[in-house]
């Protein structure tokens, strides 16, 4: 017997290739003000606060500690932090609301990837004894996954290019996107490989930014907004870490999370998928059971805006915003973490019946 929990407010920064004139606190504060201001609440009205970030982007241990000062935690607040994408902070907040100890929650995620070499930084997620010493970067690993998909006969390079072309074109309607382009699949196929079989347009940009959500339960959600986007199911699962121990052309953890979240219980209008490389979108669509009639990544997706540690939460925001506006009745948001889609979260969002 779960409580009904809704996304009642969202905000995000433009996802910029490089934010040099603001530190993380300065980048985050306008988003926090916007997400609260949109529904007229202050920090004291929020029962729980949870964030997601990583020290490996900030280049400093305990980096989230001073960020919290930007939230204005006075008087002291009930607060937690996950060293994960903000989508998992949203999950923790959803659980907190389910305990009954909170009716409202502020969730945020942020990241500045630009100061470092992101593909190499992400290689620090790998097995520290056997894999990480080889420094395989995230683009190279995604290329391995793309190659496995081609070799399996499940997809073609033209399909990769179609994903990239559609995503970049959709991003033209997204003012927060890092990249938007009117490029045909044929033009993309004519590009040289970045890391075969991936071309540059098959890969997400590197973005700096922040995003925030306010959740509210039951009647409190209806008090705060006329258009709550209800979380009807949410679940997350993880696969084996070792790349040689899994079928890279499949995502069993996504499939399982989708089943637990009830994706297939009713038709899906749209989905926002955390696919940072075009082959991954094809893998996710299959694992989620999404047919050709489902609108995929109308925001342009991570191929157009990819703030690491917020990009999963942004998927929830993009889906919830479309449900709140009535553009979609039932949406799926997906977030991922780890090499080659190792860990996956699936969230089903619906409007009022």
């Amino acid at each position: 017997m779960m409580r009904d929990v809704a996304v009642v407010s969202t905000a995000q920064t433009p996802h910029a290739r490089r934010v040099e004139d603001r530190n993380e606190v300065e980048m985050l504060m306008p988003v926090l003000e916007a997400v609260k201001g949109a529904i007229g609440v202050t920090q004291e009205d929020l029962d729980f606060t949870c964030s997601g970030s990583t020290d490996y982007l900030a280049g400093q241990g305990f980096s989230f500690v001073t960020i919290l000062d930007g939230v204005g935690p006075y008087p002291p607040i009930v607060e937690s932090h996950v060293e994960m994408d903000g989508a998992w902070a949203l999950y923790e907040a959803w659980v907190k609301i389910q305990t009954g100890a909170a009716d409202t929650a502020l969730v945020y995620g942020y990241g500045k990837s630009s100061p470092g070499d992101l593909p190499r930084v992400l290689s620090r997620q790998l097995d520290p004894y056997y894999t990480a010493p080889l420094w395989p970067d995230s683009v190279g690993l995604a290329a391995l996954q793309g190659r496995a998909l081609l070799d399996s006969g499940k997809a073609t390079e033209a399909e990769f290019a179609a994903v990239a072309s559609r995503s970049r074109a959709s991003a033209q309607a997204n003012p927060n996107a890092t990249i938007s382009l009117d490029t045909t699949a044929e033009q993309i196929l004519a590009e040289p490989y970045l890391v075969s079989p991936l071309r540059k347009d098959d890969c997400a940009p590197i973005s700096d930014g922040a995003a925030a959500v306010i959740l509210a339960a039951d009647d409190r959600a209806r008090e705060l907004t006329d258009s709550p986007a209800w979380i009807r199911g949410i679940d997350h699962r993880i696969d084996v870490h070792g790349l040689g121990q899994r079928d890279l052309t499949d995502s069993p953890s996504t499939r399982l999370a989708a089943e637990k979240a009830g994706v297939a219980d009713a038709p899906v209008d749209m989905a926002e998928l955390h696919a940072c490389f075009s082959p991954q979108e094809l893998i996710l669509r299959e694992a989620l059971g999404l047919g050709d009639d489902v609108d995929i990544n109308p925001s342009g997706g991570p191929l157009s805006a990819n703030t690491v540690m917020a990009a999963g939460l942004v998927r929830v925001i993009e889906a919830a915003d479309r449900v709140a506006s009535g553009d979609a009745g039932r949406a799926v948001a997906h977030a991922t973490s780890g090499p080659c889609l190792q860990q996956n979260l699936v969230c089903v969002i619906e409007g009022d019946d």
Binding site: I77, V78, M84, G100, D239, Q343
Partner: protein, 386 residues
Amino acid sequence: MAGKERVAVIGCGQTRHEATRGDVSVAGLVREAAMRALEDARMTWADIDAVVIGKAPDFFEGLMMPELYLAEALGAVGKPILRVHTAGSVGGSTAIVASSLIESRVHQRVLTVAFEKQSESEAMWALSLPVPFSPKLVAGAGGYFAPHIRSYMRRSGAPDDTGILVALKDRQNACRNPYAHLHQPEITFESIRDSIMLWDPIRYDETCPSSDGAFAMVLTDEAGGDTADNPAWIHGTAMRSEATIAAGRDYVNPQAGRDCAADVYRQAGITDPRSQIDTAEVYVPFSWYEPMWLENLGFADEGDGWKLTEAGATAIDGDIPWNCSGGVLSTNPIGASGMIRFGEAALQVRGLAGDHQVDGARTALGHAYGGGAQFFAMWVVGADKP
């Protein structure tokens, strides 16, 4: 909703904590604790619905988001795994997040584990919090907390040797705990007093060590607790955070700590902690934090905490034994230290604390803090079902 589901701790496991656990990998370390917790709970990996893991900064091991690499070692493949990081309080908040998964009825059996393998790096530099607009002190956590301790001494009029008494008690307690990092049976008041002054007034022997270690617990719903031999029932959990730097913030007696204690006591029905709590495991990484937290947690009036320490009230045979395991002063794998506090509190009310068991302990407090004394996590556990 029919209120929160009751939650019980039915399995605890920890590693031998040492300066360098060179005999195990990171995966081997967490598995050692997790398997002991499962054995204690009479469970196997298959019985676990979800895993919640906590640790302090990833730079300590040079391993970004280690839960990804640890998925197999923690039996999490095909399951949900959450990674918590709330600075030094993380071991406590990790246990609280695990508990919330059951309280909410999302899951029934959750494995929670916290670890740090500090020998992989030099933790002191990561613990040198930068103060904005100031040159970086690079003086470690001790350099940050020493001024707050001096402020406490000035405000309370405590004698200079209170910290030495705390260190002596905790190091002697550690000799009763086979898992503790430091075993120093030869330690004396004089040897602590004569140890090198690191950050005045904090001497070397009044400082926590740097440890490799892990602690794990199995939490279950009410039905699981009912069928366990000796469950520790969770009577309350609370977390509070406040700013690192804010005008009017009391760094010695932080409001977040007082609010957190008031919240957890309200849930557990505690109005007089000194008489109603039988034993406490409290995060004391520098000796002077015992009298400071005695006041912050309401065991003593403001300014009187040191008097309890001096009178022996917090000794294992005192009326409110604190840190019978030896505490953070004897064992400090940072990310795990909070969970060790929570877990040792559970072991006490389960009657399984071995040579450092407090006779008849039925209600215990577990406490953790972190950052610049700004993040707090606490739980109260009891032998009786709430």
